[in-house]
């Protein structure tokens, strides 16, 4: 049994989330490496992006390569690798959060990066090793061939400490040797064999120290594995918090909204299931009763009949009002804090600018750190134009890449629809369609264009370009320069081209076709006959 299993990615490299159980990604952190037990798994498992979702931990490789021959030398790690990457490209692997027993964080020290260690629980019922009957014929026949005793099978048995016979769990003495068995409520002192209560620290008869006062008595742990995540790009604390929150929330078990919990409370107290079904907001789904810590302040008198319906309406309104109020107070508090933060960052930026000329080297590194963290926050307005790096590539961060991947998925959808839409679209059109599809959390035009320019580096088959006239387009590989020119040359060799037929053939707007032609002429692919606006194969370069 292995901890990781393969996860699905979309064509653009984004994680496929389970919509049915409302899985959502809480945190993403790039530059995370994987360890199995103590073994650092080799490339490509040493660099990837970790996504903490409400149900899983998904790790996406930064570079998808073939792992047919990766070996680490350790047998268990090798089996893990063989299971994950049978011979094709590795893209993403995941662990279900409900298999994690514990997680803890080790901070980085000197050259080792911070690590989160996960204790996992096998789903196997028991280790296959110790068999209770020495010469049982097969697993199905339960009678010992030598002595005829029927041993209890392993899940419901407890081995006797003295003679190792498998007794029933409820037995207090061993059926074979009459040794008093330890049960969940008693322990046997090893020196004088008196049965003490399980939480006793010293034996009542001989004062033998049974356990340390600080130690915690754990039930026997089934065979487990350890997985470590190494955070080489930082973000370990935030990821640890996110994992902890997700483990606590246990989204795979519980109901989500407090509204449903509140509304299900009058249902839960009824004894009449028919009335409960009538009044329940979600038919066929009775929620567990409210936890005592949840105080909704609702009046639960007479929830039946018209009066009950009216009461329920009022309760809903009250709840909505409370939610709105709390939301707005939060919002106002946020705005005040943001205002403070902006003032603070402006003041610091002004001070920085004043002292960069005279600062020492340690100051310079601090200044650089401050600038990079301001940029990461997006508070670029407080930095002067001179502070921003000149090359945009230096600040391409993962947000751009994630947005670009989302855009690529959307483009697949747009271009797959056909309807005469060729595989090239103006950025303004795409921006409108994209934001419309999003509905909320819309993207600014600047961010959209920045992400579009990253598309080419992701190699998802699309790229963004600015044509000579200034029009910005996003297109599939078919309209890349090489393929476009080849197509045009072959077509022009047969007949003279004009813009309208080209637009019809490519499925693009006439204006866009005209610009593509201009682009082709500027590169010498075809030549133009201006008075008639026709395009011919370039005979001048043939001679």
């Amino acid at each position: 049994m292995h901890a990781w299993h393969r996860a699905d990615l979309t064509a653009a490299g984004r994680v496929v989330l389970d919509d049915g159980s409302a899985e959502a990604i809480a945190r993403s952190q790039p530059r995370v490496g994987l360890y199995h037990d103590q073994i650092r798994l080799p490339s490509p498992f040493d660099d990837g992006t970790l996504h903490v979702s409400s149900h899983r931990l998904v790790w996406v490789a930064a570079a998808a390569t073939s792992t047919a021959k990766i070996v680490t030398g350790d047998a268990s790690a090798d089996t893990v690798l063989a299971c994950l990457a049978p011979a094709s490209t590795v893209a993403a692997v995941a662990i279900q959060l409900d298999r994690i027993n514990r997680a803890w964080l080790q901070a980085g020290f000197l050259r080792s990066s911070p690590k989160i260690t996960l204790d996992l629980v096998w789903s196997d019922p028991a280790p296959p090793s110790s068999s209770s009957a020495p010469r049982a014929a097969t697993t199905t026949s339960l009678v010992c061939a030598r002595c005829g005793v029927v041993p209890t099978p392993s899940p419901i048995s407890a081995a006797c400490p003295q003679c190792t016979f498998a007794n029933r769990v409820s037995a207090t003495v061993c059926a074979m040797c009459a040794y008093p068995l330890p049960s969940s409520s008693t322990t046997i002192c090893p020196r004088c064999t008196l049965t003490n209560p399980v939480d006793a620290t010293k034996c009542r008869a001989c004062a033998y120290v049974l356990r340390d006062e600080e130690a915690v008595m754990l039930p026997p742990v089934p065979k487990s594995a350890t997985v470590k995540l190494s955070f080489r790009g930082g973000g370990a604390n935030a990821a640890y918090k996110a994992i902890k929150d997700a483990l606590q929330a246990q989204a795979w078990n519980r109901i989500s909204s407090p509204r449903e919990r509140a509304l299900s409370s009058p249902v839960g107290t009824l004894r009449d299931p028919a009335a409960a079904a009538r009044l329940s907001p979600v038919p066929g789904r009775l929620a567990p009763p409210l936890a005592p810590s949840m105080d909704t302040g609702l009046d639960m008198a007479a929830p039946i009949g018209v009066g009950g319906l009216v009461k329920r309406q009022e309760q809903e309104q009250q709840l909505q009002q409370q939610t709105l109020d709390s939301a707005f107070t939060d919002l106002e508090a946020l705005m005040t804090k943001a205002h403070d933060m902006v003032t603070l960052s402006n003041a610091i930026a002004a001070k920085l600018r004043a002292r960069t000329a005279t600062g020492t080297e340690s100051d310079e590194s601090l200044v650089a750190q401050f600038r990079s963290s301001m940029m990461a926050l997006g508070a670029t307005a407080s930095l002067g134009a001179a502070d921003l790096p000149s090359s945009r590539a230096a600040t391409t961060d993962d947000r751009d890449r994630a947005l670009a991947r989302e855009m690529a998925d959307f483009l697949h959808h747009v271009f797959a629809q056909g309807k005469g839409q060729g595989q090239i679209i103006a950025v303004s059109d795409l921006y409108c369609m994209f934001n419309r599809a999003r509905g909320v959390a819309m993207v600014s035009p600047h961010d959209f264009w920045t992400a579009a320019q990253v598309l080419a580096t992701l190699q998802v088959g699309f790229e963004a370009r600015t044509l000579a006239s200034g029009t910005r387009v996003v297109h599939a590989a078919r309209f890349a320069d090489t393929s476009l020119f080849t197509d045009l040359q072959q077509w022009a060799a047969r007949n003279a081209l004009d813009v309208a037929t080209a637009a019809a053939r490519w499925g693009v707007a006439v204006a866009l076709a005209a610009q593509l032609f201009k682009h082709a002429v500027a590169h010498g692919c075809v030549v133009v006959d201006a008075p008639a606006d026709m395009y011919y194969a370039n005979r001048f370069l043939e001679v």
């Binding site: 500027a522 030549v527 133009v528 006959d529 026709m534 001048f540 370069l541």
Partner: protein
């Protein structure tokens, strides 16, 4: 055109002349260079055939069969013509008449070639070492079958000046009127 020379056979245009984009100056630089080179060759051939000594940037020149293809209904634009003439000058096939760059003399034969032609004619026809007038050489009865018959006056003056510079003639009567020039070709 300054002469009314009617060639015996019509000029045969090259196939590129029937290519409509030939009449549009291409934006792509390498294509444009090839296009202009083709035009320069065409202009030179045409001027040789029709004995054209001058070209000027005025409206009527765009009606020349050289610059207008009636079958395609395409003609060269004025800007493009300026470009072509500049290229012609650069190729040493023409010379601007004045600083204002509106006229060119077309040297479909270069000045030194003309000089050689004149001297060769003089030697072959017994006019070496005799005094001849400009009129005789340019428009006389003995030269009607020569290439330089009815040469443009200004061009002729330049040829004579070139010959003088080369000391292949002796100037007897320098005159501003080309026909009254008197010189002796040294044979």
């Amino acid at each position: 055109m300054s002469t009314n020379y009617a060639p015996p056979v019509p000029f045969e245009f090259p196939p590129i002349y029937s290519f409509p984009p030939f009449f549009t100056l291409q934006p792509h630089a390498p294509s444009r260079d090839k296009q202009v080179t083709a035009w320069v060759d065409l202009i030179r051939a045409y001027c040789t055939h029709h004995r054209v000594y001058r070209l000027s940037l005025n409206a009527s020149i765009l009606d020349l069969p050289l610059f207008r293809n009636a079958a395609l209904n395409r003609s060269v634009s004025r800007d493009m013509l300026h470009t072509l003439l500049t290229a012609l000058v650069k190729a040493d096939l023409a010379e601007w008449t004045s600083k204002s760059k509106t006229h060119v003399f077309v040297y479909w034969k270069s000045l030194s070639e003309w000089s050689d032609t004149l001297v060769a004619w003089a030697k072959d026809n017994g006019f070496a070492n005799t005094v001849v007038t400009g009129y005789e050489v340019r428009l006389g009865d003995y030269v009607t079958d020569q290439e330089f018959y009815a040469m443009d006056e200004a061009v002729f003056a330049k040829v004579v000046a070139h010959l003088d510079h080369q000391r292949r003639i002796v100037m007897i009567n320098p005159s501003s009127n080309v026909d009254e020039l008197g010189f002796k070709i040294i044979g």
